[in-house]
Symmetry: C2
Subunit: 120 residues, 2 copies
């Protein structure tokens, strides 16, 4: 039988920030959940667009030419090549929809880089 | 500047059922919103998985071997080839992630078939 995914239940299974977990796959894309707080690293994705949907809280997406506040129930799509940096003053819960191969820090490798997200 | 999408604001722009609107694009996938109520048609998608995320309300996904109730904040991914039929006793608002080319009624053509969703 095909199983559904409860976002809140999946989010309750982890507490750390900036480490996306995979909760589903659709065609060649992954559905990921991540908790964020603080400033992430500036990066871009060479060949992949990335969708962020705020499930809880809010964050700000910084671009080199300005910032976009993204609230609960809002989506932002970062097109390939666009340098961006998510920043959350308080903890926010975000659903990501992106190719299975997308690395969270894009062209940058640092302490928070996750190449193979855990499936939860 | 890159614009965000407020799901509730987009959903407020239309009232009809079973007619998905496109609100964003991510790689070769479309993000669509649809209001559903009643029984849809049994169908499948030959080559595409389809993700349903309940933004408001609830619905039931019927499969030939059983049904899955899907609540607000829950996701169900219908794999390619699986015959399915969404049913909503009361109006529900659903976000869809699927290839840009996916037709809502899959292998079936009927009155509610939408081949080119309006972009809102």
């Amino acid at each position: 039988m095909i199983e559904k995914v409860n976002l809140a239940a999946k989010l309750a299974t982890f507490a750390d920030h900036w480490t996306p977990r995979m909760v589903g796959e659709v065609n060649d894309c992954a559905v990921k959940l991540v908790k964020i707080q603080g400033e992430f690293v500036w990066h871009h994705h060479e060949a992949e667009d990335e969708l962020f949907l705020v499930v809880k809280g809010r964050f700000r997406m910084d671009f080199r030419d300005g910032s976009v506040p993204v609230e609960e129930g809002e989506i932002i799509v970062v097109p390939r090549g666009a340098e961006h940096r998510p920043v959350a003053d308080e903890e926010a819960h975000v659903l990501l929809f992106e190719p299975r191969t997308t690395v969270n820090t894009g062209n940058v490798t640092e302490a928070r880089t996750v190449r193979t997200p855990e499936r939860i």
